[in-house]
Amino acid sequence: MMKNFLRSVAAMAIISWSGAVLAEVAVIVHPSAGFDSLTADEISRLFLGKSKSFPNGSPAIPLNQDDGSATRDQFNQAICNKSPSQYKAYWSKLVFTGKGTPPKDSGDDAAVKTLVAGNPKMIGYVDASAVDDSVKVIYKLP
């Protein structure tokens, strides 16, 4: 009994640990973007609506993955330092005051990649395994 319990605790620990490490998230832009990397802070400012253009001055359109996506939660926690509910509360403050509009929920890895590949203004994030030549990776987490 005790043995089984310990075994399942160990199993859960391994699953959650490996789950946390396996997912690698890539922040992507159009290949023609005039820069090769951004800092986490610069990315965070774009996704929190504090800045509306890339550091080089060209306009930026950040894209979210859909609510509930594990990639989105990981990105928001690591880059914006907000849990899903804190992220929601943060944007509610801006939405219900007419002071801002959150990045648009734009689907999953494939959908975000396709959008970013087709628009030099866009910036998104996808699971690193989804990256191909159609986009440029400018930041990787963890």
Binding site: K50, S51, K52, S53, D67, G68, N81, K82, S83, P84, S85, Q86, K88, A89, S92, K93, V95, F96, T97, G98, K99, T101
Partner: protein, 391 residues
């Protein structure tokens, strides 16, 4: 001071803008609809003592519900229209337009809004009705009681990065007419030449805020009894006929210069949250007291839970409409009555609130709160619960 809005119906402008938005742009993808909801209830420990936060019953009542809908649509690249409609249980769920305005995005970082706007009195004014955005069920009563929440006018809002700090600056001019109830007395208020500024500076986890507003305020009170034999208006009539007729203007709120000043600090590190705010609200040359109110709040997050404690204080300065009347046996009754009128307008209270917010899932929070109220008019304990959501 216990103030309730009973009427806030400015449907005309709202319907006009809603109509504008629905016709040509209904097909466009640029119409955003968002909403928020709060369903709440509570009960007090002793219904023979003072009411607090709208609760005065020892049985659980669910009468603090509201539903808000916000529709915004792009008119063109630079101009958008926004309407926020709110239905409150206290208003029989009549939808009324809280805000309705047109926004002109002047530059990337600045905008001009025209219409019915939220007055930026307090730190949480802008999203006061969206309980989901903060820890409490509702913001501290001691500060967040002003009925004149909205203004018809124009504002300018500018955000900028100052080195590594984020700043915002808002300035507005406008006016309003409003009906409300002030401690059981119904009244109409009219503000003219209202203007104000609010500015914030912050960085990652902290924001400092300051605001200053002024207006020429007129409040007409419906008559009320001062004693069993004399009403407010009768007393004013006697005063008018006495040698101290000029004292009448020190009682009435008649185009009196009114000022509101605020400073606040908000902190959210992810693990810890804290907030503090101090306000002074003064209607010069009237029988209303100078309201001096403040609170400090601290909290900690643990997983999906946020535990918080708040200490709020009302420490008003009573008006002295009797100033200038020489003290004598003859004037004693007048002075006494004037002081008694002024005394009813002061609030002296210490409230300690304990609360927990549980983020049930993204967009839904369940909150519990316990308020321990120590007022010079009595003590009270209030238990309340609310489910708050954004969608």
């Amino acid at each position: 001071m216990n103030v309730n809005n009973t009427q806030r119906k400015k449907h005309g402008l709202a319907l006009a803008i809603a109509g504008l938005m629905l016709t040509p742009w209904a097909q466009a993808a640029d119409v955003n609809i968002s909403g928020f909801l709060s369903v709440g209830g509570g009960f007090v420990d002793d219904e023979n003592s003072i009411a607090y936060g709208g609760y005065d019953d020892e049985d659980l009542t669910f009468d603090k519900n509201l539903l808000g809908l916000q529709v915004s649509g792009k008119v063109n690249e630079k101009i958008s229209a926004t309407v926020q409609m709110i239905a409150r249980s206290s208003d029989d769920y009549d939808f009324s337009a809280e805000w309705a305005y047109l926004t002109w995005q002047a530059t990337e970082n600045s905008k001009v809004r025209v219409g019915r706007l939220r007055t930026p009195f307090y730190m949480f004014s802008d999203y006061l009705d969206v309980g989901y955005t903060y820890a409490w069920i509702s913001a501290p009563q001691e500060l967040y009681y002003l009925p004149f929440n909205n203004v018809n006018g124009i504002d300018y809002y500018l955000t900028s990065a100052l080195g590594s700090f984020d700043t915002s600056f808002q300035v507005y001019v406008g006016s309003f007419d409003d009906d409300f109830v002030l401690t059981g007395i119904s009244a109409t208020a009219e503000s003219k030449n209202q203007m104000g500024v609010a500015a914030t500076i912050g960085r990652d986890w902290w924001t400092l805020r300051a605001a200053y507003h002024q207006t020429d305020l007129t409040i007409e009170f419906s008559d009320f009894q001062l004693s069993e034999t004399v009403s407010f208006n009768q007393f004013l009539g006697q005063l008018e006929a006495s040698p101290f007729a000029d004292t009448v203007t020190k009682v009435l709120v008649d185009e009196d210069r009114t000022t509101f000043a605020e400073v606040g600090l908000n902190i959210d590190t992810g693990r810890f949250v804290a907030a503090a705010e101090y306000v002074e609200f003064d209607v010069e040359d009237s029988f209303l007291s100078k309201n001096i109110r403040h609170y400090i709040m601290g909290g900690v997050r643990a997983g999906d839970f946020l535990f918080h404690v708040t200490s709020a204080k009302s420490d008003d300065e009573l008006a002295s409409p009797e100033a200038g009347i020489p003290v004598s046996a003859e004037t004693a009754p007048i002075i006494g009555t004037l002081q008694a009128i002024a005394a009813t307008r002061g609030e002296f209270r210490d409230t300690v609130s304990y609360g927990v917010r549980w983020d049930v899932s993204s967009g839904v929070a369940l909150k519990l709160q316990y308020d321990d109220v120590d007022d010079n008019k009595g003590e009270q304990k209030v238990f309340s619960v609310a489910l708050q959501s954004v969608f």
